[in-house]
């Protein structure tokens, strides 16, 4: 009987030991991360600062915010998982011997971390949270016919979505300055630092979401949206423009297949030597066109010789303005006709006043970089002198 008792106890011990033995190791594994940052093409002397990376794990939804040390190594280890990383930071760079600092971003998904140390390569792209619609190109000079006659119906604006988001062009205002960059005067009252003075305003129609413009896409707004090459081989085909401006009746040719802009004021006859400046603006949602015209009617006066001249215009508050470009003729330039907060420089299509070489030339914004998705980012430092290529070949010409 003792044998049986011992047998029972021995069996119990064996089974107990077997049952209680240690199972597989399911400890959490962590990966050390090194980041390889690829600076956007065309950026010179880059200096990255304030880099913050956010890693989001897809299974748990947990976000881990981390920074880089001097060796580009993450200051945190990350548990195993399927990650998406976003990067935010600043990049300093040089262009034309001027130093700029801009925001820089990056994004990458599908990163599998399995406990081994890894190097993650991130393509950086420039990002401006305030980026939006910009003037990509202003063709204001017109062309000459083979017979050297002026041809003025082929002027245009190219409006570009320089942001990362789809924007709506509905109710965008394009406005030409009343004041000339070649004639400096003391206007009274002086509202230059708070508003843009204009008598020519046109507006893109729409109810708010009728004209979506994807990031990196543009709008062509033509004076006359027709194929100008039919009558002037030196001109362009603008019949596929997105919008057509309503000019003075004498020079207006209406293409019924292209939507017209709405004229708010004046006739948007673009100064063909480039004495005027342009802004892109949008009224606040709670301000109607009529309200704007009532509230921002501007009567000013200035001394012309010994005579005091009084005139009327509209003033577009700076806070409504999305982008601004001063145009001029360098040799006769006297001042910029807006707050330097909007544009502290100017661009041109002809160096001399009356220079006939200006015809067929535009001011074209410089490309800053191209994002990994192929989207071109244009330079926008609120300084047309550095942001624009003067006397540029119109981009429409080659299309």
């Amino acid at each position: 009987m003792k044998k049986r008792i011992y047998s029972l106890i021995v069996i119990f011990n064996i089974l107990f030991t077997f049952a209680a033995c240690e199972r597989d190791n399911f400890d959490i594994k962590y990966s050390g991360i090194r980041i390889k940052l690829n600076v956007p093409t065309g950026i010179q002397n880059p200096n990255l600062t304030e880099i913050i990376l956010t890693f989001k794990e897809s299974n748990t939804g947990i976000e881990t915010i981390a920074m880089l040390d001097e060796m580009d190594k993450l200051d945190k280890v990350l548990p195993t998982g399927s990650y998406t990383v976003t990067l935010n930071g600043k990049i300093g760079y040089s262009r034309d011997n001027i130093r700029f600092v801009e925001k820089v971003k990056s994004y990458k998904d599908g990163i599998a971390l399995t406990g081994q140390d890894q190097t993650i390569s991130l393509d950086l792209f420039l990002a401006n949270d305030n980026a939006g619609f910009i003037f990509k190109e202003i063709f204001f000079t017109g062309t000459q016919t083979p017979e050297n006659k002026l041809y003025q119906g082929d002027k245009y604006f190219l409006i570009y979505n320089n942001s990362e988001d789809t924007l709506y062009a509905d109710k965008l205002l394009i406005s030409q300055s009343t004041f000339l960059t070649t004639t400096k005067r003391e206007y009274t009252p002086n509202v230059m630092n708070e508003a843009f003075t204009t008598t020519d305003i046109c507006m893109i129609p729409g109810n708010g979401m009728d004209y979506p413009i994807a990031p990196g896409h543009q709008l062509l707004i033509a004076s006359n949206a027709i194929d100008h090459t039919e009558s002037n081989p030196n001109s362009f085909d603008l019949k596929n423009a997105d919008f057509e401006m309503q000019l003075l009746a004498a020079i207006n040719v209406d293409n019924p297949e292209v939507t017209n802009t709405i004229t708010i004021s004046g006739s948007m006859t673009m100064h063909n030597r480039g004495f005027t400046s342009y802004v892109l603006a949008r009224l606040p949602e709670n301000v109607s066109v009529d309200d704007f015209k009532t509230e921002h009617y501007y009567t000013y006066s200035y001394l012309s010789g010994t005579r005091i001249v009084t005139a009327n215009a509209y003033k577009i508050p700076n806070s409504y303005i999305l982008d601004a470009v001063n145009l001029t003729v360098p040799t006769v330039f006297e001042w910029i006709v807006m707050s330097p907060q909007l544009d502290m420089g100017s661009s041109y299509a002809g160096k001399l006043d009356g220079d006939t070489n200006r015809f067929g030339k535009s001011v074209l914004r410089k490309e800053l970089t191209t994002n990994p998705d192929g989207r071109v980012i244009y330079q926008d430092t609120n300084n047309s002198t550095v942001d624009f290529i003067p006397e540029a070949t119109p981009s429409i010409k080659n299309k």
Binding site: L8, A19, A20, I28, N59, T60, P79, G81, S82, G110
Partner: protein
Amino acid sequence: MRLLSIITLYISICTISKAQDSTYLKLQQHKLLNDKLNNYYDAPSLKDLNSPVPYTDMNINYKQQRSEKYIWQKGSGFNNFNININSFLAKKNDINLWGGFYYNNIAAREVNYNETLDYDYLYPYIMADSVGGDLKDEHYAISGGISKLFNKTTLGLESSFIGKQSIRNRDPRTQNISSNFNIKVSANQKLNSIYNLTLAVVGERYFQKAKVEFNSELGRPNIIHETGFGNFNKLLAGSRDNAEYLGYNYGLSLHFVPSHQLGWFALAKYTGTTIDKRVQNLADIMNEAYKDNFEIQLGHKLAVNSHSKLEIGMNYTDKKLKGVEAKFHIEQSLMPILSRENLFNSTSKDWTGYISLQRNSNNYDWFATVSSSLINQHETYQIPLSEEKFEFINIEGQFGWNQRFKENLLSLNFIYNYSNPLSATREWNSFASNTNRYAMLLNNYNYKNTQTSFVDFGARLSFPVPKLQTFYIGANASHVFAYALTNFGLTSGFVF
């Protein structure tokens, strides 16, 4: 129809059975005086030692529970109709046979954040949504066993099958089916005229197929696969509306018991569990739960005089749950597994001691028991770090009385239980405090962290009926003050 068949079977068996008039009295007396000893005798080869007479007990029960405060996943209450049959027969040649059957029909109310059966077994890896609602459950069980004495050794075998289904007839339409097959083998060696040593081994297979459907075209909530503390796998949340659970339980126990419920008692028991969870359209296992339960029990019962006995006992249980989660990676519409990590852990330790005085005489039996427990519970989740920790003290007094009036037996039972959380701490870092998930966690935490007083009173009266059968009818009512929980039960049956 199924229910009607069961009732018909019940009545038929009652009318043809041959009864023994003392059976019920002996059973009730044994139950009253040995209530705390059942666990020591929980092995097939010890069944005959804990069954004073051959018997068949057939009963119908109804129970209703309502509670204002409750664990959301378990619901606010239920109506439970139950039919139960148990029988123990001693045959010739030292063979004992026993068997049982039960059918439960349950209407559960306000079950939320849980779309699976067997919440306690599968916790924390349940399938859930935030809508929930009432459920209709049906449970069936059939069991049988045999033991035979060979000289001084008794070999025993017992097996059971439990089937459950759960449905909801509105969105979200739950359709869950679970099965549980259990087999237990034991060998008992009679050491001397008093004591026995038994080794028992148990094996069990569990399977559940949980499914949720939606008929509404107006929308549906996300189906969530919970991982503890309100966390869930974001990648798999949405419309993976099916889950399968496969569990294996295995264990062994060593029992040291006297043949006649008098003397020293000892029990050491281990039960291990592995549960795998799979979800729709995923090749790999999503969650694994590993459980280890240890239990040690020691007691002594001595005869103070010919009518009085004094019983003391203590037991210690240690329960551990290790939860393993898989992480997946989206790769060309496939979801390969990246890792299996132990994120959820739970431990529970329980120290209990009791003292019981029992007295029996010709006309009455009674017992009075006082017990106390100290319980430690600790749950953690590693990333994001979450933790809950409780320490409870539990004091219980129980009093039972059997009074014979000629051929009738009146059984009374009273329980008072006081539970007080000595300490409770929590840390949740998974979501904002204005979310419904946070409200769920807070509700469940507050439910546990509540000082409660539980009272229960039960009475049962038996009558002899023609053909010498015993018919009994009883009722019990209980109340938990802090939860405004009320439980009411009725029972009626025959013993022969």
